[in-house]
C-alpha cells in the first residue's frame, strides 16, 4: 500500500482530477455519514438504508407513501391565507408567503382529504414541514377542523401526520386560537366515538404538539423524531444547562408514557390498518 503523505507546501498540492458525478446522485447520510445512493434512499421511503435515519419529507410525499396508490381525494383546497394583521417583520408576511408558495408549489402547509390505507377508508391530514416549517395558521387550523368535522359526520377514522415548528407567529392570536379550535373539534369527534390516530414525525413542537397532535386515541411516533412543547434551544436558555442525550425524542416519550408506539416509516401503513381494525372502524 502506498502511503499518502500530506502536502508540505502549496506547490506540492496537485490539482484534483474532477470526475463527473451527476449532482445529487449520491449523498452523505446526515446521521451515519455513509455515502448512500439517493434513489435507493428514496425507494426506501426516504429512510437511510444503512442506519434507518428517517429523512424529513413533504406532505405530498407523505400522502403518496401512506395511502393506497391514487386513492387520495384532496379536500378544502379552496382556502387561501390572507394577512389579517398586515404583519411585517424584516420582510412582509405576504412576501414570505409568496416565496414559500413559489418554492414548494403548495398553497399552504397542510394537505387534507379522504383516501384509503390498505383498503380502509380514512380521513387524512398531513402538515407540510417544507412550507413555513409546518406552522399552524388560520388556514391549516381550518382545514384540520373541517376534516375533523367531516370525519365526525361520516364516521371515518382520522389520521393526522404532524410535523411543525408550532403556531405561526405572523398570525399571532389567530393562530393561537387554532389550537383551541382543533382541540374542541376533536372533543366532539371523541364524543361521537371517532377513532383518531396521531402520527408524530420530526419535529413536532409548540402549539401543534400542545393541541391536536397529543390528543390521539392512539399516538404513533417515527423513530428518533424531536417531539416536545418547548424547543431544545429555548429550554437550554431557560435552565442554562445542557440537555441530556436523547431528550425529547420519540423513544424518550415512549419511555415516559406519552406515545403508544414508535413505528418505522415502512411499518406505518400496517400499524394504522391494524389499529383501525381493532377499533372496528
Amino acid at each position: 500500500m502506498t502511503q499518502i503523505r500530506p502536502p508540505r507546501t502549496w506547490s506540492d498540492v496537485k490539482p484534483v482530477r474532477v470526475t463527473k458525478i451527476p449532482e445529487g446522485l449520491w449523498l452523505r447520510c446526515v446521521a451515519c455519514e455513509q455515502m448512500i445512493y439517493r434513489k435507493q434512499m428514496e425507494a426506501n421511503l426516504h429512510v437511510c438504508p444503512l442506519c434507518e435515519h428517517h429523512y424529513r419529507i413533504s406532505a405530498t410525499q407523505r400522502v403518496n407513501q401512506l395511502l393506497d396508490d391514487g386513492s387520495f381525494e384532496p379536500m378544502f383546497e379552496n382556502l387561501e391565507t390572507t394577512d389579517p394583521l398586515k404583519f411585517v417583520d424584516l420582510k412582509k408576511y405576504t412576501d414570505r408567503l409568496a416565496a414559500e408558495q413559489k418554492r414548494t408549489g403548495q398553497p399552504e402547509g397542510c394537505q387534507s382529504g379522504r383516501g384509503f390505507i390498505k383498503g380502509r377508508a380514512i380521513m387524512l391530514c398531513c402538515l407540510d414541514l417544507t412550507f413555513f416549517m409546518g406552522t399552524l395558521s388560520s388556514v391549516v387550523g381550518e382545514k384540520l377542523t373541517r376534516a375533523i368535522e367531516l370525519a365526525t359526520d361520516q364516521d371515518l377514522p382520522l389520521i393526522v401526520v404532524s410535523c411543525s415548528g408550532g403556531a405561526r407567529m405572523q398570525e399571532s392570536g389567530l393562530s393561537l386560537m387554532q389550537m383551541a379550535k382543533t382541540s374542541a373539534a376533536l372533543a366532539r369527534f371523541d364524543d361521537a366515538g371517532g377513532l383518531f390516530i396521531s402520527v408524530l414525525t420530526d419535529p413536532t413542537t409548540g402549539g401543534v404538539s400542545a393541541s391536536f397532535a397529543m390528543l390521539g386515541d392512539v399516538i404513533f411516533a417515527e423513530p428518533k423524531a424531536l417531539i416536545g412543547f418547548a424547543g431544545p434551544r429555548v429550554i437550554k436558555q431557560t435552565i442554562r444547562q445542557d440537555l441530556p442525550d436523547g431528550f425529547q425524542t420519540s423513544e424518550f416519550l415512549l419511555e415516559r408514557g406519552f406515545v403508544d408506539r414508535v413505528v418505522s416509516r415502512a411499518q406505518l401503513r400496517n400499524e394504522i390498518g391494524r389499529v383501525i381494525d381493532y377499533a372496528g372502524k
Partner: protein, 333 residues
C-alpha cells in the same frame, strides 16, 4: 421594597408628582393639611389629566411593560379584593402541586364559583417557587381536575390569566407539558358549566390559552395576549431582541386588548383606572366585578348542556382566510 421599574413614558407625570411631593413635605404643609392649597389641588388634577393622556396613547410595547409592572395586582390580590371565603384546593392527585396555578372555591357577591388562575409570586422566594407564573404540567392537570369538580357541582368557573407562557424545562417536558395543555384545551371545550376568562396581565401563548377556552373572554385594558412574547418573536424573526425590535414585534403581533377585541379573540375590554391597575388595584378589581356582574347571570340561566356547543361555535369561527367558491365540493361527489 420598591423595585425600580422605570417607565420613561411616565416622565411628565413623574415631574408633577415630584412637585406635589415637594409641597406636601414642606414644613408649613402640616398647618393647613385639612385644606390643601389651591396650588396642590390644581397640580393633582393636572397629574390625573396627564396620566390619562399618557395611558391613552400607550404603544404596544409600553403596554407589555405596564402588564409586567411589579406592583400590578396579581391573581391572589384579586381574590382578596373581589371574593369572600376563598377555599384553596391543591394538588393534581398525580405528581404534585404547582404554585404557579392557584385553584379554589370562592364567593363573588352571592355567586358560588371556582376560581383558577396563574400566580406569578410577589417576593423573590415566591416568584422562584411559581417560576414567575410559568406553569408545569401538574398545574394544568390540577386545574382540570378542579374544573371537573366544578362541573359536577354546577359551579361556574372564572379563570384569571397572567403568565408569560408554560414553563420550558426538563421536568416539564418529561411530565408531558404538551399533552397536559392539549388535554386541557380539549376537556375545557366540553365542560358542562359556564366558564369566564380574564387576562389580567400577560397572556403568553399556549400557557395562557390553556386556561382560557371560555364562553366569555375579557382582557384588562393594559394586558397583552398573543402567541408569543414580543422578545421571543423579535429573537426569531428579527434575529435579535433589543429595545427597537421588541417594539416592532409588539406592534406586529397585535397583542393589545383592543387588537384582540378587533380580531374577535376576546369579547370585552375591561377598563383600568387612569395610570393602570398598579396605581389603584381596588378600582381595577371593581371593574372586573362589574364585568362579571354583566356576563355571569345570563350564562348561569342558560341550559348547561347547551354550553359546550355554544363554546364550540365561539372558537369555531376564529381564524381569517379567504374561501374561493368555484372548486366543486368533493363531499357531494
Amino acid at each position: 421594597m420598591a423595585i425600580p421599574y422605570p417607565l420613561e413614558f411616565e416622565a411628565p407625570v413623574d415631574a408633577i408628582e415630584a412637585q406635589i411631593a415637594e409641597i406636601e413635605s414642606a414644613p408649613d404643609a402640616d398647618a393647613d393639611a385639612a385644606a390643601p392649597t389651591p396650588n396642590l389641588t390644581k397640580l393633582r388634577a393636572k397629574r390625573d389629566r396627564e396620566l390619562q393622556k399618557v395611558y391613552k396613547e400607550l404603544s404596544p410595547w409600553d403596554t407589555v411593560r405596564v402588564a409586567r409592572h411589579p406592583k400590578r395586582p396579581m391573581f391572589r390580590d384579586y381574590i382578596e379584593l373581589i371574593c369572600k371565603d376563598f377555599v384553596e384546593l391543591h394538588g393534581d392527585r398525580c405528581f404534585g402541586d404547582d404554585p404557579a396555578i392557584v385553584t379554589g372555591f370562592a364567593r363573588i357577591g352571592s355567586t358560588k364559583c371556582l376560581l383558577v388562575g396563574h400566580h406569578k409570586g410577589r417576593d423573590t422566594q415566591e416568584k422562584l417557587a411559581c417560576h414567575f407564573g410559568c406553569a408545569h404540567p401538574e398545574g394544568y392537570r390540577k386545574a382540570l381536575a378542579k374544573m371537573k369538580l366544578a362541573e359536577k357541582f354546577g359551579l361556574p368557573i372564572i379563570t384569571f390569566v397572567d403568565t408569560p407562557g408554560a414553563y420550558p424545562g426538563l421536568g416539564a417536558e418529561e411530565r408531558g407539558q404538551a399533552e397536559a395543555i392539549a388535554v386541557y384545551l380539549r376537556e375545557m371545550s366540553r365542560l358542562n358549566t359556564p366558564i369566564f376568562s380574564i387576562v389580567i396581565g400577560e397572556g403568553g401563548s399556549g400557557g395562557a390559552l390553556g386556561i382560557a377556552v371560555a364562553d366569555k373572554v375579557a382582557m384588562l385594558q393594559h394586558a397583552w395576549y398573543s402567541v408569543i412574547s414580543p422578545e421571543g418573536c423579535a429573537a426569531i424573526l428579527w434575529k435579535t431582541a433589543n429595545e427597537q425590535t421588541n417594539q416592532a414585534a409588539a406592534v406586529a403581533l397585535n397583542l393589545t386588548a383592543s387588537d384582540n377585541k378587533r380580531l374577535g379573540i376576546i369579547d370585552d375590554v375591561i377598563p383600568e383606572p387612569p395610570g393602570g391597575a398598579h396605581r389603584d388595584p381596588r378600582a381595577a378589581a371593581e371593574a372586573i366585578e362589574k364585568w362579571l356582574a354583566k356576563v355571569l347571570p345570563p350564562l348561569k340561566r342558560s341550559k348547561r348542556e347547551n354550553l359546550p356547543a355554544r363554546r364550540y361555535t365561539r372558537f369555531r369561527k376564529l381564524g381569517e382566510f379567504r374561501e374561493t367558491p368555484p372548486t366543486p365540493d368533493p363531499q357531494t361527489a
